[in-house]
Amino acid sequence: MDPTPLALVIATTLELALITTILLLAIATPLAWWLARSRRWWKEVIGAVTALPLVLPPTVIGFYVLIALGPQSPLMAPLHAFGIRTLAFTFTGLVIGSLFYSLPFAVQPLRTAFESVGTRPLEVAAMLGAGPFDRFATIALPLSRCGFVSAAILVFAHTVGEFGVVLMIGGAIPGRTEVLSTRIFQLVENLQYGEAHRIAAGLVAFAFLALLGLLLAERRIGSVAP
């Protein structure tokens, strides 16, 4: 069987990274805000759970997400009525796995950024008549923009580079769930080192540019910030 054109694999990889970044910023923002502002001691239990993917092997995350998205999973039962028995080996499943895997890369920078805002600007805004959501939107968000830039770049780059989770959940199905990292694996298995090298070198360059962009963005935001 002919391999999927490289352009399609690149498109799948970028689509996965983009969707994961957008969804994760939406999910991580309220979570990080709560972690930064709550005074309850047990928030650190939630904090530790969100940080777990930093230390767990990707295959462990991939394994449990695979089980959770499989046809026997109680979590899938509500979708049976719509004719969906499993999300394993689908692009949607890949996105769900990526959300778990990259969660700390969004939560940690956002939590740090929210904590660095402190309480004073929020109290000042409250005394000027700003309600809770108003304070979040007009004070916390703009003062945390550096954290949002960091989170977006880290999640995007991390998702582009993930391997274990996408292989476990997606199965590297050509044209559907095959991404650049799994393509390299397949090429090496087939001893096509030249082609593997081309893609691997491209990912190294991408990772370097992403981190450079992150540092430059932080520097620029830091220099125009108060």
Partner: protein
């Protein structure tokens, strides 16, 4: 029309037991006391930024009693905090506009800037202001919303002697033109005597002297 603030608050704030009952009529009331006596805690409790038991009324309006607790953003208090006061990501003009947009009937930015002597600072960023200039802007912003009550927490701290004397005189003259209750925290007895119509003394969380 201005109203008198009536405060009856008690409870623990960390290691400190607060017990305070006093009124603040229109005009300047100074709240004095040593460091750690509970001055800032009391101001924050009046503003609703900290929770103590008791009641806070202004005129016929209830800000806090056994059943009600009006959140800080709905009390219409002009609060000048000690130290950093300005929203750091906004210019001076934008700081004033932030307050104006959320006020029911704000004063004009140009008018209040003129009266407080900050018209030449409107396009500056907070980081480019001196301590005295920043406090002046914070005061202008607090006045802009036509507050029902003005709370000033050691507004002259961190200023040099010259800047301090100039600002105190200007501020006192400006505040005397208002018919609003003003509660100003200071630990300087001379400063309190110079500007206040009424003086309160707090020690170890308890209001001990009213003069």
């Amino acid at each position: 029309m201005s109203d008198t603030l009536r405060v009856r608050l008690s409870g623990r704030a960390g290691a400190l037991a607060i017990d305070a009952a006093f009124t603040v009529p229109p005009g300047i009331t100074a709240l004095q006391g040593p460091s750690g006596a509970g001055k800032t805690t009391l101001l924050r409790a009046i503003a609703g930024l900290e929770r103590l038991q008791g009641s806070v009324h202004i005129g016929g309006e209830v800000w806090q009693d056994a059943q009600n607790f009006l959140p800080p953003h709905r009390r219409r208090i002009g609060f000048v905090f000690q130290g950093a006061n300005l929203l750091p990501h906004l210019s001076v003009r934008a700081n004033l506009a932030y307050a104006a947009r959320r006020a029911e009937a704000p004063l004009s930015i140009e008018d209040i800037a003129e009266r407080t002597g900050i018209a030449h600072l409107l396009n500056r960023r907070p980081a480019k202001l001196s301590g005295g200039e920043a406090q002046r802007v914070a005061l202008a912003r607090a006045l802009l919303i036509r507050p029902k009550l003005l709370l000033l927490d050691e507004p002259f701290t961190g200023l040099d002697a010259e800047g301090r004397a100039g600002l105190i005189d200007q501020l006192a003259a400006l505040l005397r033109t208002l018919a609003t209750p003003v509660l100003i925290v200071t630990h300087d007895a001379g400063e309190a005597a110079r500007i206040a119509h009424q003086q309160l003394h707090i020690d170890n969380g308890t209001i001990t002297v009213c003069s």
